[in-house]
């Protein structure tokens, strides 16, 4: 019994032979719909902040530095590549690219920063709920937002009109830590 099993095992191992890929010397093609690094098209982005509102890892930040200028920052070091931002974007400004070899020694290499000139909407002041008909997918954080880009922290306070005080306050935001 023992011997027949071992012979069978030997055949099982011999048949497929070596299956290890010779990566990175050989690079097999990447599947077409791989969810790789997201890419922003700044021409299409309207700065609604939908992506930052719906990012499960909260790595897309929105900061209004003044009435007209909104900075959007994508921090790739925390991204889980779920592709939710690309789904949610009403303008199709985000695409999930095929690039996956994104190990780097500088965080800035995988950070995308958009500076958007914003108009003031007559109806609601700032945000665009667009045609999202799914009640649980509507944007929660409307108006002006003050995420802290230095600390890479999403601050969940918003205001209907631009508030320099909140902006200043968020500047002093510190990540919680027990080292005093």
């Amino acid at each position: 019994m023992w011997l027949t099993s071992k012979i069978k095992q030997l055949l099982m191992v011999m048949k497929p032979g070596v299956v290890t890929l010779n990566y990175p010397a050989e690079r097999p093609p990447v599947p077409k719909n791989l969810r790789g690094q997201p890419v922003w098209d700044h021409q299409k982005c309207i700065g609604c902040g939908g992506c930052s509102d719906h990012c499960p890892s909260r790595c897309i930040l929105t900061r209004d530095v003044c009435q007209e200028l909104r900075v959007m920052l994508y921090d790739g070091s925390r991204c889980t590549y779920c592709g939710r931002c690309a789904d949610i974007c009403p303008e199709g400004a985000i695409t999930m690219s095929n690039s996956f070899e994104i190990a780097c020694d500088d965080k800035d290499d995988i950070t995308t920063r958009l500076e958007l000139f914003m108009m003031t909407c007559q109806r609601c002041g700032r945000c665009y709920e667009m045609e999202k008909s799914n009640a649980i997918d509507r944007i929660n954080l409307k108006g002006f937002r003050y995420d802290n880009l230095e600390q890479r922290a999403l601050v969940r306070t918003t205001s209907e009109t631009f508030s320099p005080e909140l902006l200043k306050e968020s500047d002093n935001y510190k990540r919680p830590s027990d080292k005093e």
Binding site: M12, D53, H54, P56, R84, D137, D178
Partner: protein, 557 residues
């Protein structure tokens, strides 16, 4: 069932029963006063219900109480019973049900740690979830505690392990599991090489997932975070959460989406079972199985990459449906891949089924009787290997499982070998289910949108059969587009509690495979609470030593 249960409860408890109601076709909620909780749990258990888990929740802001829910499943009539009670926050003590139902022990200790609800008569009221240096009086799951609180850690505090039985020596295994690559700590009490008992201290990987999802994100982000509870059964948790929310909201999702969910769950089952088969082989020093099982498994990983855009963490499931459709080309691709896997797995199966070395290492190892398994409410292949015929896919059909035909393998040799056989058979069954799904899948939409906001404070429970047992998700809907309370009970949670029993009187060299046989996922089990550094001692036995010991056993066999 509701009427019978109500009659029984009122006959025994009279005024302590507040109400017994049935919210949908399969959930019965029993509200009792604090004094009657233990008796009520006993009656429900006596009516043939199987204990699932307990959920605690904070209701202080509304009526100054802490809530406690014991959940049960009636497997023969597809129903769940949730027994609820409350205790005022000023006097947060209720009677423990652990003396009657030993597997409730961890759930209750967890609630004590996280919500400050205490249980009178609990046999082992020690810390379970929180770190040893967590300050007293801060209960992280209470609503007034911020999600990012980092309290100052105390120094020189260590977990007091149970006293070793007389005449035994302690062998610490952990805090990092030497061969499963996950953090847990076992203190194994040995007499010579025979294990005489053990104590477990784990929960070192708390990531605060439940708290995070209750305070920060919204309903449709949770499936993505749920998926990351576990690296292996991600879709299971995402599906279970989505189903719970859909059930609370009364949302009916398109049939096609249900079929795609079923398909993803079964694909995941194939990959998980092959992964486990490989790991089990590795743990007993049979690396041929490990290499070959993982080689076969790799094809399913590539298939998933083509199908969902990622090898794991598929990101397919949302509340309301799924994200990507199965096109005819993809369906053809799936068929080809599963055919190939079936063929190659058969080769592995034939090569190892009669191998004497694998028999000697797994037969008669890790035995516990059917009665003990029932007492500790084991789930999944571990229970089915002990003659307990339960499978959430068949007993509580969800997604499209009511339309597909499959066998539930049940063996009664009560050892690791039976677990191994069951998981191989289940892989073949999964392939059958995938073929049926592809044949029967109707056309139509794959996603349905929520018209209105989900009403707050609705309770819902779902179970989903993960490859290693059933996962239970309990959701209380909240006001701010996110759950008020979301409790995850992974299959390892009950199974791990029975490990000391499985290890009793085994050889120490069999520790890795007995432990491995439940396919423990410490990350699943540890999902709650707040991350903190554990002041752990280094283990005194290295992986190489343990593996070498395990292999020596192999040679001896």
């Amino acid at each position: 069932m509701r009427k019978e249960l109500e009659a029984k409860l009122i006959a025994r408890l009279r005024d302590d029963v507040v109400c017994v109601e049935k919210t949908d076709a399969r959930t019965i909620f029993v509200d009792v006063k604090r004094a009657g909780i233990r008796e009520a749990a006993k009656i429900i258990h006596g009516a043939g219900a199987r204990y699932l888990c307990s959920v605690g929740y904070d209701n202080i802001a509304r009526d100054g109480t802490l809530g406690m829910i014991h959940t049960f499943a009636l497997d023969d009539c597809n129903q769940f019973v949730c027994c609820r009670t409350t205790a005022p926050v000023g006097d947060p003590v209720i009677e423990s049900i652990t003396p009657d139902l030993p597997s409730a022990g961890w759930s209750e200790r967890e609630v004590t740690d996280l919500l400050g609800l205490r249980f009178a008569g609990h046999p082992k009221p020690k810390k379970l979830v929180l770190a040893d240096d967590w300050p007293d009086g801060i209960y992280p799951l209470r609503k007034d505690v911020p999600h990012d609180l980092v309290p100052k850690g105390a120094e020189d505090v260590a977990y007091e392990l149970d006293e070793a039985p007389p005449g035994t020596k302690i062998v610490p295994v952990g805090p990092f599991h030497p061969s499963l690559h996950e953090p847990e700590h076992f203190a194994v009490y040995v007499d010579g090489e025979t294990i005489k008992g053990c104590d477990y201290r784990g929960f070192m990987t708390h990531r605060g997932i439940e708290k995070l999802c209750q305070t920060q994100v919204s309903y449709n982000e949770v499936p993505f975070i749920a998926e990351r509870i576990c690296g292996i059964c991600g879709s299971v948790h995402a599906t279970a959460f989505s189903q719970a929310v859909e059930s609370a909201a009364g949302l009916v999702i398109p049939r096609r989406a249900e079929f795609i969910r079923t398909l993803m769950l079964e694909i995941e089952r194939i990959h998980s079972n092959l992964l486990w088969l490989g790991v089990a082989g590795h743990l007993i020093g049979f690396d041929t199985v490990f290499m070959q099982a993982w080689r076969v498994r790799e094809q399913i990983m590539w298939l998933c990459e083509r199908l969902t855009g990622n090898r794991k963490t598929y990101g397919m499931i949302l509340v309301g449906g799924v994200r990507r459709d199965i096109t005819p080309e993809i369906a053809e691709d799936i068929r080809n891949v599963v055919n190939k896997i079936e063929e190659e797995l058969m080769v592995i199966h034939r090569a190892i089924e009669k191998d004497t070395s694998i028999h000697k290492r797994t037969k008669g190892v890790g035995t516990i009787t059917r009665e003990q398994a029932l007492d500790w409410s084991l789930v999944g292949p571990v229970a089915r290997a002990r003659g307990i015929d339960i499978d959430a896919r068949r007993d509580h059909p969800y997604a499209a499982y009511d339309e597909v035909k499959f066998e539930v393998p049940v063996l009664d040799s009560c050892d690791v070998w039976a677990t191994l056989v069951i998981r191989v058979i289940e892989t073949f069954e999964a392939i059958k289910i995938i073929r049926q799904c592809l044949d029967k899948m109707p056309g139509g939409e794959i996603f349905v949108e929520m018209k209105d906001k989900i009403p707050a404070l609705r309770h819902a429970i779902t179970v989903v059969e993960a490859p290693r047992g059933e996962s239970v998700h309990y959701v209380i809907t909240g006001e701010e587009n996110r759950p008020e309370r979301w409790r995850v009970r992974a299959p390892t949670f009950p199974n791990l509690q029975a490990v000391p029993l499985m290890l009793l009187d085994e050889q120490f060299a069999d520790f890795p495979i007995v432990m491995g046989s439940i396919d423990p996922c410490f990350s699943c089990t540890d999902r709650v609470a707040v991350v903190d550094l554990q002041t752990g001692k280094s283990s005194s036995i290295s992986k190489a030593e343990l593996d070498a010991m395990s292999r020596k056993q192999q040679q001896r066999a």
